[in-house]
Symmetry: D2
Subunit: 356 residues, 4 copies
């Protein structure tokens, strides 16, 4: 069940109809889960900003590394040009090379891209090596191309799917989660959606309830009690239909990390914690003709971006809650050793929530 | 009363004996409160890393702007050289020039600095213009030099004092707050202290309790209920006795912002949100002889910094709670209009806490 | 005489009519030279982007620190918001506090700014302490306000004036220099102007001629031959009438440093080397009404900015040449010791140029 | 012939015995050139910091993007941790995915890495698509592993080899180039080496001689005369045996771009211009035991790094000259169209040099 059905509704702003990143019109998500043999428990999640050729119709974008111990590909070009020219793929740490390969293949093959000879593939990753036999390299470019091919608007599968198949968070099974927020009309009426690949740790807090402490499972617990690893990483993808500049999208990406902080993250040394934000408003899209000459772009002013910041924080926080409450237990065997990523026990969570 | 006396004890690590930045041996704090006439409600807080000449005995340091809409002075040199060469002053937005002047005066006047002709003054600020007639410029370099002169180890005054005299946070009176954390010996046994100048907003959360929402005072409340301004800024100073490199201190500064996030910050457009962290371990201090030739420095490794990150997050979070619970109501008159910054009602807070 | 009259014409693009930053329509420069007593040899240079209230009518801007060992004020807010809200003042290292004070005073006093209570003063500096008794603090806020008051379009005084009164470059007298470039109509027809406060070192190269080496005066010469100090700093202000976004202005600022590199700069540890760029195109100015709601801004595309980059490099390079060829010898006495900053010998330079 | 044999000896410091990056003890280079069919003209260049397992024995490192329009992989982790954990591979733009894959394979296979499950592959690239049929993807992970396997100390092949097989620079054939500088003993006696993959443009300047202008081939020439494309990119790898911190290595990387600037680079929009610097001094290497606990590291102080900055600038500049003078003409056929990258005519260059 999703967090909101369990009574977890962080923040003050309402969600959109799907409470998902796909509430931002045009955004599409495709996921492929790879479960194979004893130990392959991994996958890929693709996010497309719109239905057009993303190389031609570029969306403005910003990226932020709260902790850059990660392998995200494509970062410097997004920073330099303030735009995305490919879909975003999320996968496991050792599959980034293949994901880059897949995005390059896909981009070269799009109609209209026959002359393209430079592609900035954007790939995020977290390390699912606790449940996935990551050294076995069980996912390839084919699965990644599949994820791009099946991407669709509408509800998004959460939990132990796609790039979240093998991830852990706060000592429980983590995964993919998503959520959204809609601003009141007086504040612009914009939608902000977030999707997370949650694989990080600390001491879990769910809408203010210190679940990690109450259930005795948190980073450093061994030193005061039972330990949960804090490493692992999180990648957040934020989308909005507001006409934000690349600079304000970079600011939005930073706020996503405040949402992660609210869940009790330790932002530990080994956790590669990144956010990337893009805008889909028609008047900020850098279409071919606008990229060829002086053009006019819409821009939502600095003075009015704060509500969007709140929306990004809240959507990210709730996306993590969804990743945890939707995740299902995953079993695996790595190097002859049986490992289990147990889902957060929703019954015990319900008890904790009932007490507040 | 301090937050911990009220039952607010965020996080998992224990505080130091003073639960203050001065638990880091050598750190000294000096504050001057300026209340004058109808409208001057401001002040200055000085933080010195140790008792030696800071220009000669430089501490490694890192700085992070979560939201750079602020006037912090001295940032680029700290980034470039990874060190502090002056004390840190906190004051109001329009007094930064005078604070720079005061630090330059003070530094030129230190024994041994007779030949110094370059000074990188580090000054943080928040805008106390809601309670302080900031345009009247009621604080000068003299008060700032006084704060430096009276700086001392030991307990630190909190609430409506020094640079917190006129600040507001989450719609209530904010101010100066401090807290600390001590790591278990197996994790290094280091101390991390934080001091905040809290003048920001969002929807206040105190150790997980959504106080802002429960008391109906939060940013954007008008649009769903009663509004609290989200702008204003926060500056966090983090100190540690661990032998951290400047790079890892910059990472520590980033984690301070996760502590701010946990209090419900909106990180709004107009909030200049900065953290600066320094280390006082004797073997990381850049003494004159070490700055003249190849030298050896102690370094705590990347692989073991995560507990320090948790300490920085928690100390920062609790410092904010202290700023709020220790703050006293401040009245003022600006432009003929009476304004009041009311202290957080501790009785109502106690009720909310009793319920959890 | 200016560099171009001596046959030095670096680059491939033509200069504007004044070959000065004031070729960018609207840009105004004001300078006050302070020569007092035996040792005060300093000053201030003010650059205003246009004739309107800069706090209300903000210009987009970007800033880059090639070497952040400097005290430039206002950096993080320019980075965060991508805009200037005050004029830019250049002065000496220990006068930054007063310059901030002066810009705050000036801004608060502008008609229409009666309610302003936050000001991001942008101040650059270099250390003129080799010729100026900098510890005597011989310049105050009054001179800085004067520089703002007398700022005007038209020709700009160069050499040992304003903020260049006491500066040295490459072992000779440095100072203020300016130059400009105009793009052909097919490339947009835009103008780019640069103004430098040159106080840095290395081995001087003038339009490819290794003047420093040929005259035996360069950084590290003692170790191979006669030494010139490499420290000191340079600040470059770049203006353009092209409709550039703040992101592309930051890129333009980076290119200014390539112009500095071409002059033989060492970018030494102690040299604070900064560039700040702004755009004055009417459709990029963030006027009050545009800052209040969704607005449309003109933008010159990424794909067509390269010629502007070349223009920024060349204008900066030539501005440095002008600073050196226009500088006049300055004599001073500091701490009882006579010091002289000799102008580059133009007769010997002419000989060197005749040989190529 | 190398630039120095032609009389081109930029700067003031002497080169090392090989005038190559391999003058830094321990550094090894391996290159594989791929010429296949009509259009495949590409390759890979591998740089290893030392002969040990680089994942276990990490070298401190810093990276700088002067213009981030490129696909360099591994950037954020180098920034976050200040270290390299793999060799560096240089290749073409569309082969980055495969190069990441190759580095992951190679690292997982190293003895002692049996438990490694996270690898930060560092890959630089430039776009050789003017001479190489880049969309044909003519290089694979096998060639990349070969380059790693054959890496050796000693002289380094330059010009149209390895990752420089298909590159162009300033309108002529570019390629791989390398050079070094040695500091006098009084300045530390350290060696700095640089290796470039030159594929960029502007108006070529060789040791001050404006070769591009004199031969009428430069960026924007069409608008004043004959055009050379400015896009394409450059990657510089800088090595030193000085005990530099990661922060000072990042500063060294920035200076490499000053060396590129001196060659007349336009740093155009489409040119991904990166430098990465690492240090091999035994007392800065992060060996396993030093990464597990508090350790002591050697550090060359800020106050004495400037000569190393000069060395990095000069070595980079000369490396580019070598790339150009050593390059040989390359012919290709792409999409049925014959293309030729002509080597810089050394006879005409000699004439130009004779005149100065």
């Amino acid at each position: 069940r999703r967090a909101r059905e369990l009574g977890l509704a962080p923040g003050i702003l309402p969600p959109g109809p799907l409470n998902a990143i796909t509430d931002v019109a045009g955004v599409r998500v495709g996921q492929v889960t790879v479960i194979a043999g004893e130990g392959t428990r991994t996958g890929v999640t693709a996010i497309l900003p719109h239905a057009q050729n993303p190389f031609a119709h570029r969306v403005p974008a910003g990226v932020f590394a709260m902790n850059g111990f990660g392998k995200m590909a494509g970062v410097t070009q997004v920073q330099e040009l303030g735009e995305l020219e490919t879909p975003i793929l999320l996968t496991n740490t050792l599959a980034v090379g293949r994901a880059v390969e897949a995005l390059v293949d896909w981009t070269l093959a799009q109609p209209g891209n026959e002359a393209v000879r430079s592609v900035n593939a954007v790939v995020g990753e977290t390390n699912d090596g606790r449940l996935n036999d990551i050294r076995a390299r069980g996912i390839g470019a084919a699965e990644m191309r599949d994820a791009l091919a099946i991407a669709a608007p509408g509800p998004v599968a959460e939990g132990s799917v796609g790039a979240g198949t093998g991830t852990m968070a706060f000592g429980w099974k983590g995964g993919i989660g998503t959520a959204s927020r809609v601003l009141p009309p007086a504040l612009g009426g914009w939608t902000v959606g977030a999707l997370v690949q949650a694989n990080y740790g600390g001491a879990l807090v769910m809408d203010g309830v210190p679940v990690g402490r109450l259930l005795g499972r948190y980073f450093l617990a061994d030193h005061v009690a039972q330990q949960a690893d804090a490493d692992g990483s999180v990648v957040v993808v934020v989308a909005t239909d507001a006409p934000l500049s690349d600079r304000n999208l970079q600011r939005l990406a930073r706020r996503a990390m405040a949402g992660i902080a609210r869940t009790g993250a330790a932002f530990s040394d080994g956790s590669g914690d990144y956010a990337i934000a893009f805008a889909t408003h028609p008047e900020v899209i850098r279409a071919p003709e606008k990229r060829a000459a002086e053009a006019r772009y819409a821009e939502w002013p600095n003075d009015r971006v704060s509500p969007l910041f709140v929306a990004a924080i809240e959507a990210t926080e709730e996306a993590v809650l969804n990743a945890l409450t939707m995740a299902t237990t995953v079993e695996s065997r790595i190097g002859g050793r049986r490992v289990t990523g147990r889902a957060l026990p929703l019954d015990r969570l319900a008890e904790l929530l009932a007490r507040r």
